[in-house]
């Protein structure tokens, strides 16, 4: 598996957020979904940068919708997960599950 096929942490979160939101996945909703679930302060720029990278890898597909008045007459770019994206999520889940196997949480100790 090449480096481009593996998902970074934020890419993983973004892909999951798009999957969870289904038809309603666009920048603002993805940002809020990640921020609410992970309690991380995420910027719209970071989200779009990641969405663009995932689309370039073929894990997401995007489409522009018609402008709406509540958006100041601006168009919306919606995303959906492709088959390759689903496979990538499944693989990431399997790898993580395999690494976590046999480890009891919460962990304690660690280097000082």
């Amino acid at each position: 598996m090449s480096k481009g096929e593996t998902l970074g942490e934020f890419e993983h979160l973004t892909l999951l957020a798009v999957f969870r939101l289904g038809e309603d996945a666009y920048g603002m909703r993805v940002r809020r979904e990640i921020a609410e679930r992970t309690k991380r302060d995420v910027t719209i720029g970071a989200v779009y940068s990641t969405l663009d990278r995932l689309a370039a890898k073929g894990l997401l597909k995007s489409a522009l919708s018609d402008p709406t008045p509540e958006r100041g007459g601006r168009a919306k770019r919606s995303f959906r997960v492709t088959g390759l994206g689903i496979a990538s999520l499944n693989r990431a889940r399997q790898q993580l599950g395999s690494m976590l196997e046999g480890i009891a949480f919460p962990l304690s100790g660690g280097a000082r």
Partner: protein, 192 residues
């Protein structure tokens, strides 16, 4: 109630023409939600903070698309090269006259240089309005802002690379007048 104008302008300048459209739409939509929940002042602060923190990522996205390289190249050719050529021309002319070496930095020549470079920037702005009409390019305003910003940077680089040190007033005048000229002709041509 609209988001802060300065933050909107920064967003238009750093985001690519397409990104500016939907990122601004997303931020405006969320701006209304934040305003409902936390009030006007907090929403304005939130908007400005989002734009400021997103600027790097959006700029990176623009560089990745190759569009920014194009804009920087046009700005460099449009204003930095003429400025350097003028500077070298005066330097050459005065180096040929005994006891006049260094006079190419005299105030009247600097004013002439500034006028020429502003004229070049104005042509650049008019060209941008013709090349990127709003009907074909939804983010033409974003491109024009990026072009003006790139022109200001190009002028500063050209001054730095120039033969002799330039007076501070000359540098500040050029850094402000060049993008202003480009934006003015862009707006004038678009309004016609």
């Amino acid at each position: 109630m609209k988001p802060p104008l300065l933050a909107q302008a920064l967003l238009m300048a750093v985001a690519g023409p397409c990104e500016a459209e939907y990122v601004a739409g997303d931020l405006e939509e969320e701006f209304a939600i934040v305003r409902e929940a936390r009030g006007r002042a907090a929403a304005r602060r939130w908007y400005a903070w989002q734009v400021a923190r997103s600027a790097g990522a959006l700029l990176q996205l623009r560089v990745r698309s190759g569009e920014l390289t194009h804009v920087v190249l046009i700005a460099s050719l449009g204003v930095a090269v003429p400025l350097l050529l003028l500077d070298w021309l005066w330097q050459f002319v005065y180096s040929q006259i005994p006891l006049k070496d260094g006079l190419h930095r005299a105030p009247e020549f600097l004013v002439f240089n500034a006028l020429c470079v502003c004229a070049c920037a104005a042509v650049l702005g008019a060209w941008a309005a013709w090349k990127w009409p709003a009907s074909k390019w939804p983010g033409s305003k974003s491109r024009a802002l990026a072009l003006a910003f790139a022109a200001a940077i190009a002028v500063l680089v050209a001054l730095w690379a120039g033969a002799a040190s330039a007076p501070a007033a000359y540098v500040v005048t050029l850094a402000l007048a060049v993008p202003a000229s480009a934006l003015l002709t862009f707006a004038l041509r678009k309004s016609r």
